[in-house]
Each structure stands twice: as structure tokens, then as C-alpha cells.
Subunit: 235 residues, 2 copies
């Protein structure tokens, strides 16, 4: 099966209280697309946060100091600090730069936080899209994270609904009949990364439709991807 | 532009000295595909290693001990050890589990190493495919890596040819006119992750064609993605 990834264009600047389901459906419609069973809709968290009011005002006169204070407010635990960069664990448990507080693609005088409960956000959007279309889909809410040992950033899933976070291959065998030792694929992170290829950071394409992937419905959460502290060798 | 990702099927078990370019072209042909300018061919390193003879024999009687010895042979530096799991830096500089030595999808009595120079491998394959087709393409050789703080594995690029590893957005502005603070996207890692969605671990689909992405030709290397030790806060 061939996978297709469609950028969802024409979504305007999102305001607090915006109906994201309606905006996504209008974008799909204007692109000549309608949702079908098995589709995955990936959405950058930025528009989710804006719709939910997960933004903070910031005084342009003291922007850097205020930004740092908001980052520390959002940090449940500071993991590392180097210069202006704070690597922190968020209240959700994600470890990322600046506790997920973002200045780009924020309206002037504001910063954008992570949604309070991105899995719940994904669920709400999925329910809205499924109600409107009758299709059985999954939703992935993404953010852009760095990695400790690799330069550059990739998109990962911070909220999901409708599928499991991890594809567990335990018990399956490889082409030689040997049981696989790679058993857990972070499927939703791969979906977020794939969607980012068509979204781009500078273009105003905050969502994408991924069609053609075989996946099992499930009620996973993106927080399932958080490695328990006891397994963490690098904190 | 819509992105399409086609699995490349029908590639037989690869033996030492195999003509990977020829196998990929035959697979494309049997799938009704021919390469065009802008295509990206993603290939799991496993078949590259096998074609290049980057495999080691292993005595099934002492498999675990021999495996550990080979992992330590391949490790330029051991970063962490927990039980059977060794996190190591390879000679290339990649930090990954078991120094990239893999038992799954290896023929019985063998293990598969990383290619000695995966960027060079990608280059050779790209040149072969470009010569045969006249198309200007990029090649990504992938492996499956874990992440310190997130459960599950994703595919990343360990060898590339024809494009830059990182998409540098420095100087570009977001939708509000503000300069982006996320400036480096690990484009080739997102391509590897996207390709893995159609390849799968258990199915014998070792390659994929990604079509429709806008990218600039370049002579990047996957080793460009290795974060210099001096920037590394987590070693």
C-alpha cells in the first residue's frame, strides 16, 4: 500500500475558542479531501494550544526575562541548563527544550505553551472529526523536539487519540524466522515526523492527512511514550 | 504538494556483493515506478551491510557471549551498560544500542554490523540509480535507534547522499514575521522515519520511494547529525 501525506492548507490564524474540527474539515474540503476509515490527521500543537488558550502574554520590554520565568513556571523539573537553553521535564512528563514554551508562530506579545492535556485535545478533535464524517480515524498532535546526541529537530507526538502509541512487534518473527529483538516501534512519533515533511516550520500549514497506513485502533496516549525514570539511563 | 511513500517490494535476501542498485531498480520496475527528479530512496542499512559483507559469524553455542564481544569490538566508546544492553558510540560517532550490531533479520549464525561508511554506501547507490535513470535523486540509509527519554524506536538516517542532512531555516520568518527560533530540522531523520511507516520491521520491505518533497540538492552527510561532544549535555 502506498502512503500519501496531504498538507492541510488554508487554516487561518487560530484564536482562543476556535473550532479546530471545523477548521480542519473546511481545509480538507477545500483540498478536495474527505476523511475515510484509517486516515490519520496530524496537527501541530501550536494551533491546539492557541484554540485552548494555552498562551501567555509577555512584556516586550522584558521579553527574555519574562520568557525564562514562564519556562520555569512550566517546568516540573529542570534537567539541564546551558546559557539560555533550559532542558526541562513538563508537567506531562515530556523532556524537551524550554518546557515546550515557544516564541515562534506566536502572536506578538505572547508565547505559546503546550496544551494542558494533549491526549485529551487529540481525543476531542478526533471525536469532532468522526462525528462530522462517520470515518474511523486517529489524531496525532505534534511538537518539535531536539535529541541529546543528534543535531537538528524532529516532530514527535505529544497527544494522540484512536491508536496505540507504540507498535509492539513482540512475538513476531523476521524474514529468517527469528523473533525480533526490536519490538517497540514508536509509530506515532514516526507519523509526526512524516507529517512534518509537508507541514514545514515557516509555511502556515499546521496539519496534514496521512492516508494508507495499516494500523489497529486503540486507546493509547502519547504519555505512554515517556520512559519511566527508573529505565532512564540519561537523566 | 502531496507526498507519496511507496514500499519497494520483492527484494530477495541480499548476499555479499549483491548489486543493490540493480535490485532497487528491478523492484521499482515491478511496482510500475520509475525514478524522477526529486525522488528520495530510503533503504534500511541491513541490506546495505549484507551487500557489503558487514556481517560477522557467530557460534550458536555461545551466541550471547559472542554477540557481546562483537558489540564491544564495534564500540568506539561505551556510554552506558545496563544488563544485556550496551549503549555505545560507534566508529562513525553514532550513539546507539549495541553499537548497531543486530541479530534480527540476520541469517542464522550471523549478526549484521553497520556499514563501515554509510554515507559512502548511500553515495554509491545514488550514483548507480542516477546513472541508470538520469534522474537527480537523494538516498537515505536508515537504522532503528532508541531515544533516551522516549520509549519505542524510530528510524533515523545513518547515511545520506544528494541532499543536506539538516534543513537550516535560519533567517526565515514565521507567519507573524518573527525570526524562527527552531532553525535546524533533521530532514533526513524525518525521511527515514516516514519511510519506516511503509517498510515495517517484520515484513521484508527493505526500501521505500518518497516522492513529492521539495528539497535542495546538497552534499551533506549523516555524520553531520552527530552532536559534537562539547555540545552534548547528556553523555
Amino acid at each position: 500500500v502506498t502512503l500519501t501525506i496531504h498538507p492541510l492548507r488554508g487554516i487561518p490564524e487560530v484564536e482562543v475558542g476556535a473550532d479546530l474540527g471545523g477548521l480542519l474539515l473546511a481545509s480538507l474540503d477545500s483540498g478536495g479531501l474527505s476523511l475515510i476509515d484509517g486516515d490519520v490527521v496530524a496537527i501541530t500543537h501550536k494551533i491546539v494550544s492557541k484554540a485552548e488558550g494555552a498562551i501567555r502574554e509577555i512584556d516586550p520590554e522584558h521579553e527574555d526575562a519574562e520568557y525564562r520565568r514562564i519556562v520555569l513556571d512550566e517546568a516540573a523539573e529542570v534537567i539541564r541548563v546551558r546559557g539560555d537553553l533550559i532542558i526541562a521535564k513538563t508537567a506531562h512528563g515530556f523532556i524537551c527544550a524550554n518546557a515546550g514554551v515557544d516564541r515562534s508562530n506566536a502572536l506578538p506579545g505572547t508565547v505559546v505553551l503546550l496544551p494542558r492535556d494533549p491526549d485529551r485535545s487529540a481525543h476531542r478533535i478526533r471525536v469532532a472529526l468522526e462525528k462530522a464524517t462517520g470515518a474511523r480515524i486517529a489524531v496525532v498532535v505534534s511538537d518539535t523536539f531536539g535529541r541529546p546526541w543528534r543535531r537538528g529537530l524532529t516532530d514527535v507526538a505529544i497527544g494522540i487519540s484512536g491508536m496505540e502509541a507504540v507498535l509492539d512487534l513482540k512475538g513476531t518473527t523476521d524474514t529468517t524466522g527469528r523473533e525480533l529483538n526490536v519490538t517497540e516501534v514508536a509509530l506515532v512519533d514516526e507519523l509526526a515526523a512524516a507529517a512534518d515533511l509537508v507541514m514545514g516550520k515557516a509555511a502556515s500549514i499546521p496539519a496534514a492527512l496521512i492516508r494508507g497506513l495499516a494500523w489497529q485502533p486503540g486507546d493509547g496516549r502519547a504519555t505512554d511514550l515517556i520512559r519511566p525514570a527508573i529505565e532512564d539511563m540519561f537523566r
